[in-house]
Amino acid sequence: MSASFAPGKGVEQYNPRVKQRQNASAAMKWFLFGATALAIVLLGMLLYSILAPGLPWLNWHLITNMPSRIPERAGMNSAIWGSIWIVLGAAVMSFILGLGTAIYLEEYAEKNRWTSLIQTNISNLAGVPSIVYGLLGLVVFVDWMQMGRSLLAGVLTMGLLILPVVVIASREAIRAVPPSLREAAYGVGATKWQTVRHHVLPSAFPGIMTGIILSMSRAIGETAPLLVVGGASQVLFRPSSPLDPFMVMPLQIYNWTGRPQEEFEQLAAAAIIVLMIVLLIMNSVAIGLRQHFSRKARW
């Protein structure tokens, strides 16, 4: 064996530092894992800080009673009903307007300046702080339209707030319907609306419903705009007409958190548990819906 393959000068100087670089790589892996696992720790602490003070206060009184000065008697019945009405009302409103907008943008609109303006506008609206929607609702619905600090004003404000979310989700669902479906419908002589109504919408429906439910779970936790529109004062009865004052769950939590007595802080924790359970149910329904229909997709 002659040493004919003795490395040249350049190769001698080359030092790949393989060991060092591999160590750096391994270190990064653990560092990134640690940073991500911190999310679990944070979630754990969050849950602990709610469950520890809240669980002892979780009972039927909380759900069936009206707010009270005495913590042992205080409940959030009016807030639960307020949340139900606000979320359902806002969902219906944003469903109609959002679906209409999405259909227009995806199926009807020509690609021109006006359309792209509407699109940019919608993504910008999604980024407007929610409290600004509250100011809009206060001036337009509460004052100009003279609805007062009513359930109706709250519904309209919340409907506008979740509208961009619904539009974006519905557009994605409509876009996922393959063009061949539309072409087949046009091919047998269907008009545009017949195509949309009988072929595109049924196929896009699960995606649209998922978007609606997710926007409802955003609406149920949203506090700031309703604080501006409805105020933070206690409501001791269920709303029975659209013009009644209202209270919602997160506002009730805010109200209780702000009091000096420790009992109300624990009551707030219990109310958070109720709110989180409602959210959990809504999100599971959304996920279940998505999985159920994605298995049955026809293309």
Binding site: L32, A39, L46, V128, W193, S217, A268, L275
Partner: protein
């Protein structure tokens, strides 16, 4: 069967296709089109409405308080009487910027780390645990984070470290906002990193790069526009966040509470722009006072700040997107 007849030659004859509804159909197509256009106009009207009412009401406010006094004044005491009442928004802006800074220090590095871990390193099992955890954190209402900041972050996590920490302080609110914004950064950045084509990674490995080098010098730079867009969006959300600061950051503007040593003092009460608006509605102040109109001056400033950041985020995504394949 009744509608078809058979001729003696055996061919089936159908009656002519009934197209009498054609005209009606065309008319209803037209109406539907306009209904849909009307729906899409609601979103435009919302934007126009927001800008109009903010400007309109802010003008009422600026008639009494000059714009420059509002923008550059360093004392914010809207609820005081007479000569002590001052409308200098600087302390509120400082409160917003300081809490946002803390939030960014938490959300941006941790969110990006989580995004890299989830897309580049985590196996199926780690992903199936970590991804839902981030989704749950993203879905928690902000009022809950406010409660967490007030009842856990301040007394349990921070009090041992900062002996002169106030019950309400900017630091705990900032940390809670950071936790709230973390999933936004993580999921948006992860999408951007996942969109980097496999061939780039393979080329880097082929040249002998380690995983660390591939990730840091090839994959992340290739996804940088999406990562930065997620950063800006998270910062914009932190600026606009209301309930966390309303619950945990206190009601005295930065540097104006007794124990505070200045606008930078995160251990003391630090009202933000959003916090002021929320506080005004939790206390009953007269609807015709200057203090009430100052809401819209603050609201306008808040809207301009977040709007500019959202536009910037969209522009960066569009302008610096690396297109592959």
């Amino acid at each position: 069967m009744a509608s078809t007849t058979t001729t003696p030659s055996g061919r089936v004859q159908r009656p002519p296709l009934n197209l009498s509804g054609k005209k009606n159909r065309q008319r209803s197509e037209h109406i539907i089109r306009w209904i849909l256009i009307a729906c899409s106009l609601v979103t435009v009207a919302t934007t126009v409405g927001i800008i109009t009412i903010l400007l309109w009401e802010a003008v009422n406010f600026f008639r009494e308080i000059p714009v420059w006094e509002f923008l550059f004044g360093t004392t914010w005491t809207p609820l005081f009487e007479g000569a002590q009442q001052e409308f200098g928004v600087v302390p509120l802006v400082m409160g917003t910027l300081m809490t946002t800074l803390i939030a960014a220090l938490i959300a941006l590095p941790l969110g990006l780390a989580a995004a890299i871990y989830l897309s580049e390193i985590a196996g199926e099992r780690a992903r199936s645990i970590l991804k839902p955890v981030l989704e749950v954190l993203a879905g928690v209402p902000t009022i809950v984070y406010g409660f967490f900041a007030l009842t856990f972050i301040t007394p349990v996590l921070l009090e041992p470290l900062f002996p002169r920490l106030g019950t309400f302080n900017g630091l705990s609110a900032g940390i809670a906002i950071g936790i709230m914004a973390l999933p936004t950064v993580a999921s948006m950045s992860e999408d951007a990193i996942r969109a980097v084509p496999r061939s780039l990674r393979e080329a880097a490995y082929g040249l002998g790069a380690t995983r660390f080098e591939t990730t840091m010098r090839v994959v992340v730079p290739a996804a940088i526009s999406g990562v930065i867009a997620s950063f800006i969006l998270a910062i914009s959300r932190a600026i606009g966040e209301t309930m966390i600061v309303a619950v945990a950051a206190g009601q005295a503007p930065a540097g104006q509470s007794g124990a505070s040593s200045g606008w930078w003092d995160l251990t003391q009460s630090m009202q933000t722009m959003t916090g002021f608006i929320a506080y005004t509605f939790s206390s009953d102040i007269s609807r015709s006072s200057t203090a009430f109109y100052s809401l819209f001056g603050v609201g306008l400033l808040l809207f301009i700040m977040t709007f500019a950041m959202n536009l910037l985020s969209q522009w960066i995504t569009k302008r610096y997107r690396e297109e592959y394949d």
